[in-house]
Symmetry: C2
Subunit: 81 residues, 2 copies
């Protein structure tokens, strides 16, 4: 089994209310000087080897299903064990 | 500004209904042989340098606020640009 990770984050120009709320909570807990943005992480276990076709397929899946590309950017990468 | 990333994932022994739903949707869309688990990714911009104290602080913040350590595991890492 090989693993591919897809990271999905709100685009920089998009407001991130979740991240803002967390940043505020951290400050109230005494954790100062930290600014947080929240996104999603998908760990994908792939049957068989990770070929270029497989990665292209996962890229397409990320674009269609995992990320809303109007407001989110995503990155696909192979995770080394 | 330096960036630290905190990845939060459901523990392996915990069911992940979101991930299961995505796995099913992918199969229906024709993306076979992929098994997905969904977690969260926090990008933290840190004022000033990333020292060992800073990383310990972020570790504590992740434990207190970002992850529910009963059901989730987290990893803290410095992101190189």
């Amino acid at each position: 089994m090989s693993r591919v990770v897809v990271d999905v984050m709100p685009k920089p120009e998009i407001l991130d209310p979740q991240g803002k709320a967390i940043t505020g909570s951290l400050a109230r807990l005494g954790f100062d000087g930290l600014s947080v943005r929240q996104g999603k992480r998908f760990e994908i276990e792939v049957d068989g080897a990770i070929t270029d076709e497989r990665l292209a397929q996962i890229h397409e899946a990320a674009e269609k299903l995992l990320a809303n590309t109007v407001i989110e950017a995503f990155a696909v990468r192979v995770e080394e064990d």
